[in-house]
Structure formats: C-alpha cells, structure tokens
Chain length 164, copies 2
C-alpha cells in the first residue's frame, strides 16, 4: 500500500541498498591483493573494513529481530580488535566477499518484508519497558545509524584505486 509511511520506509531502504551497491562496485574492481591495501597510510586495510562492515551488518540480524547471525566468529577479529592485531586463523578475501554478500542478502531481504509500523518497533537491545519511554530506539534508527556507518567507511574504501 502506498502510504506516506511506506514512502519513508522505501526511501530509507533505497538509500541503504545504494550504500551497499557502492561497496559492491568497489569489490568488483579490487583484486584480492588490492584488499590488502590501506585506505590511507597507517590506517585500516580494505580487507579489515570489509570484515568490519560484514560483522556489523551480521549483528543487525538479531539486533533488529530479523533472525540468527550467519558469521558471529567475525566479531573478534573485525570489531573487538583493530586491524592486524588478531592472531588466530583469518578468513581469506574470498571468504569475506562471500560472507559480505550472504549477510546483506539475508538482512536486506528481511528489511524489505517489514511494514512501516514494524520499522518503528523496538530493537532487541532495549526492553519493552524502556522502549515505552524511548520510542526512538527502534529498528529504523538502527538502520539509519548503520547506513551512515557504512557510507562513512565506503568513503574511506573508495580512496583505494583498483590495480587491474
């Protein structure tokens, strides 16, 4: 149904998909070797930012009450620790590319099923009692926050020119 609320929800989802598409465009151009490049001297590698965004988006699944996570093992290397600090076995670039695609497909598909009213429901990190007092702590504000976060890192990633 085309209501004002549905237009707000649709516009937000369109922006979300636009940011993901920008990252995908970079990933299609960078080789696996390119992913080892730093976005600026001494800063994160593309490889790390790809793992970081994948882990953060994977966490959105339970946070938005949209299902179970696909890749919880990414958190330690890509959220808890900074780039190059992790000493365990690392996923390959191909592993990360696949996880990135899977996570966003599951997440975006679930987001597309939500009604506008469901976008305004609480996220899972707030109790029903607290949500009654703080109704802005809903799925929509989490999505906007992650959209901004992804755009911010995408802006850094696009500083790396593909070699091929």
């Amino acid at each position: 149904m085309d209501t004002s609320e549905s237009r707000f929800a649709a516009a937000t989802l369109l922006s979300w998909k636009g940011v993901l598409a920008q990252v995908d465009k970079g990933l299609a151009a960078w080789t696996d070797d390119d992913l080892q490049a730093e976005v600026a001297r001494g800063r994160n590698r593309l490889y790390y930012l790809l793992g970081h965004l994948t882990a953060v988006h994977d966490r959105m699944l339970p946070l938005l009450r949209l299902g179970d996570r696909l890749h919880p093992a990414l958190d330690e290397q890509f959220i808890t620790q900074p780039d190059r600090a992790f000493t365990g076995p690392e996923p390959t670039a191909a592993d990360l590319r696949q996880a990135w695609t899977e996570v966003n497909a599951k997440l975006t598909s679930a987001l597309e099923q939500l009604t506008p009213a469901q976008f305004l429901e609480r996220h899972s990190a707030i109790s029903a009692e607290d949500f009654a007092r703080e109704p802005h702590r809903n799925r929509l504000t989490v999505l906007l926050s992650r959209l901004t976060h992804a755009a911010m890192h995408e802006g850094q990633m696009r500083l790396v020119k593909p070699t091929k």
Copy 2:
C-alpha cells in the same frame, strides 16, 4: 503531532544532524593549517572537502525549495573543479568554516519546519508533471542522498589526525 510519519521524518533529521555534528567535531580539532592536509596521498585536502560539502549543502536550499542560496560562488572551485585546479581568489579556512556553519544552520532549521507530508513533496529539479509519475523524487530522497554523501566524505576527513 507524534505520528508514524513524524517519527520517520524525525529519525532522518536526527541522522542528518549526527553527520553534520561529526564534521563539526573534526573542525573543532583541526587547525586551519591542518585543513591543508590531504585525506590520503594525492587525494582531496580537508579544505577542499569542507568547501565541497558547504557548496553541496548550499545548493540544497533552492533544490528543496527552502530559500535562496547563501554562497553560490563556491560552486566553481568546490564542485565544478577538482582540488587545486581553481585559479581565482580562494576563501580562507576561516571563511569556509563560517560558510559551513551558516549554510547548515539555515538548511537544518528549514528542514525542521517541514511536516512529514512536505518531506514527500517534489524537489525543484522535477516538474509537477514528472513528479506525478515519479513521486520518489521528493525532498526526503534528496536529503537521504546528501546525508549519505556527507557521511562518505566525513569518513575520509576523519582519516586526518589533528596536530594540536
């Protein structure tokens, strides 16, 4: 009035202000000399990105039918031309800081006056006839697009560490 639509509009505005606040946080830490630093080797200077974001946001005033522009003279140096190409008289860092603050104050204040229905009205670059067929070409989608754009550049700007 607290309706679902007003919550969508409020959440979007909150994200917009959050991105501006992140740029402001950087600007408070960088000296005018720091603004001459490149975000990565051979890439835009902070000075250029500040002028670029100011010009793009200034253009939003007429585009969103929210009033006249404050600094149309910025376009040539900061939108039409890439960094370091402009040969005319340049604004100082202090000029740009002031223009950035003025433009966003006028723009954000006008956005805060809009009702949810007004967010879904057409922007000025589309005719009423075309808008009837393409209702997504509204103020909201422009705002989301510029929000993503600002976040993308803010992510680049934050790569520069303040010297002070």
